[in-house]
Subunit: 364 residues, 2 copies
DNA sequence: AGGTGGCGTGTACACGTGTGCATAAGGCGA
DNA sequence: TCGCCTTATGCACACGTGTACACGCCACCT
């Protein structure tokens, strides 16, 4: 017996050893050291009431000293739950996405879940690999933050019979749940604010055509216009791609108009960044010549010159809500998660009363 | 036999089923369908030359039709390699970190690895949980992007006998490898640039005291000063925390000086953002009154007003290099990874020749 | 005193995959 | 025809954990 013990424990890993990956102690190693069977160790470490308190304490002490960490992979195999979720974003480099990721990750960790991060980069091949990886990893749930997801690969995701929560996107389907910002109300508040400042020629600088959130924000823009009786001018609607570079070009189009707008309502803060630069490049000033609004309230919004008036989106909170919803779905406590969060207009310095001579050619 | 088959396959998951998590098909299900043993399926799916080409093709077809995905968790249990890495950042919300994450993730995915993301938030309790999670998940390697890591929990990380690569931090220890930017040369280039523009009173707005990268950048600042014979004034050195808010306050200190600096060399772009706002708030202009430089070249650097002169750090590339190094370490192809990447000065509009009356009181 | 029940522990198995080894089939040379 | 080699396949086991079930022990009640 003692002989066997010596022989077997010879291969045990020890901290600071010169060779790596010798072997981490297993539950059986601990059982041998504690002179009990391995199920008793398992129960002791799970604080099961089935095991004698003194024995449990002794086992926990030994396990701790040996630096024992139960293998989540072995546990996952037998319990059929990995306590793992997959998180898909188009790219973490986008500040909106990274805030959501932050919220998701914190909440997941607080509940003992680990998160697999994958960015799709809107590349179909990469998306295919992401889905495959999540399937093989046997994630318990999935969160997608990517306005591009649409019909692209969601069907393949649903195949793995696991709850999926979408952040700021919607897709009609079986296992699909979502956390959304009230896009329409948010933009409407921004446009109303501009109208209140006397603006009548208000442009909309959107995202790429066909995205749900862009469509909703555009709808909010239209609604605010209509409600005030301001006619809609198609030439005042341009499209970027949600990033500054494209917004610069889109803004140039607006500035080249025979009668340029006196205010621009941007799809998001990144676009507003490009728009403002474009306006400066034309020798015009924000907000004296043109007012600008954004959407998201990213960290830099209060540090632009002038500080950006924008619609705040509680991004981290949305990540948290998505994860909390997913937890309920995975536990079966909820059969559907459909959350809408409020958008809040933050008025800063990039919007001002329309200048007297700007709207001079007001003919509408 | 047929009886048993019918009985067993009754529980197989099928796409679009109303109940979730019934069961995903296992390798044995595929084996039964293909009328072979499960090891043959295993070999066929690994493209092993041991299995007959026709049989393999048939098996692959059946597996594909059944939507079979081999369980990475079961595989990990037997192979003792999870093809999984852990990635620690203080917070993904930091644009620098998210760029690195992006590079790491892409490279990892390209090589069949999945990444567990965890942000520590510099919270000891959370860091403890992160380490524990990575240990239990049996990650094959770890990448840390966090200037705070220092002596905090790295010792605990090394206990799990797995290679660890640090990005922009260093720590003397057994399993520790790193990818670093040439901080000293980078800042030196920025300071030289300022000196070349005639500046003599150049301030350094650093990160929190004690961080390796801050120490190196400060050293670069000192070195450039010394090389030109410009005396060092301790009052021109202030500390923020790498974020805009703290930089605002630090900059106010500098502006309140009897003889304020004509140029500020910031630890990073985020700090520069705060510094520029602080300067504007005092009614001074950038770069006419005060020149400002940053570090990182984050996405917004070209969109500030004026665009920010900064030291570019190839963040995504650094993430890629870290992952590539880790891959080699895990494969045992390399015993030590120590990479230094070049910093590049990007001159934009936030730096200009010192104004004549600004350095009027030049007494040094 | 014998039956009963609770408590603590061990035994046996399962989870899904990879792999060393044995084995069956078939071809070929002696 | 026999033996040997190659090729293709199956068998048995291992990985580390959780859990249903059986079992032994002791106290207690009848």
């Amino acid at each position: 017996m003692a002989n066997k013990e010596g022989g077997k424990s010879g291969g045990m890993a020890h901290p600071g050893g010169s060779r790596r990956n010798l072997r981490q102690p297993s539950i059986k190693d601990i059982a041998r050291l504690a002179r009990v069977s391995h199920p008793t160790v398992s129960r002791a470490l799970q604080n099961s009431p089935l095991v004698n308190a003194k024995t449990a304490a002794k086992i926990r002490k030994i396990a701790d000293e040996a630096g024992y960490r139960a293998s989540a992979v072995a546990r996952g195999l037998v319990t059929r739950r990995t306590r793992t979720i997959g998180l898909v974003v188009t790219t973490v480099a986008d500040p909106f996405a990274s805030e959501v990721v932050c919220g998701v990750e914190q909440t997941a960790n607080d509940h003992g879940y680990s998160v697999f991060l994958a960015d799709s980069n809107a590349d179909p091949e990469r998306e295919r690999k992401v889905v495959q990886a999540f399937a093989e990893r046997r994630v318990d749930g999935i969160i997608v933050t990517s306005s591009r997801v649409g019909a692209l690969y969601l069907p393949r995701l649903t195949e793995m019979m696991v709850p999926i929560v979408l952040v700021n996107d919607q897709y009609p389907g079986a296992f699909v749940h979502s956390v959304m910002i009230r896009n329409l109300e948010g933009i409407r508040a921004a446009v109303r604010h501009l109208i209140g400042l006397g603006h009548r020629r208000i442009a909309y600088l959107g995202d790429q055509f066909g995205y749900q959130s862009d469509a909703e924000r555009f709808a909010g823009y239209r609604e605010a216009l209509d409600a005030t009786g301001i006619p809609f001018h198609p030439e005042l609607v341009v499209h970027g791609d949600g990033k500054p570079e494209a917004a610069v070009r889109a803004m140039e189009t607006l500035l080249s108009l025979a009668i340029p707008p006196t205010a621009v309502c941007c799809y998001n803060d990144m676009s507003a960044l490009g728009a403002m630069q474009s306006i400066r490049a034309r020798g015009k000033r924000v907000p004296e010549d043109i007012s600008v609004t954004g959407f998201d309230d990213l960290f830099f919004a209060s540090y632009t010159d002038p500080p950006l008036t924008t619609v705040r989106q509680p991004m981290r909170r949305m990540g948290q809500l998505a994860m909390e919803g997913l937890l309920k779905l995975m536990a079966g406590e909820e059969s559907v998660v459909k959350i809408e969060v409020e958008a809040e207009l933050i008025v800063r310095g990039s919007t001002a009363k329309v200048s007297r001579n700007a709207n001079g050619n007001r003919r509408s």
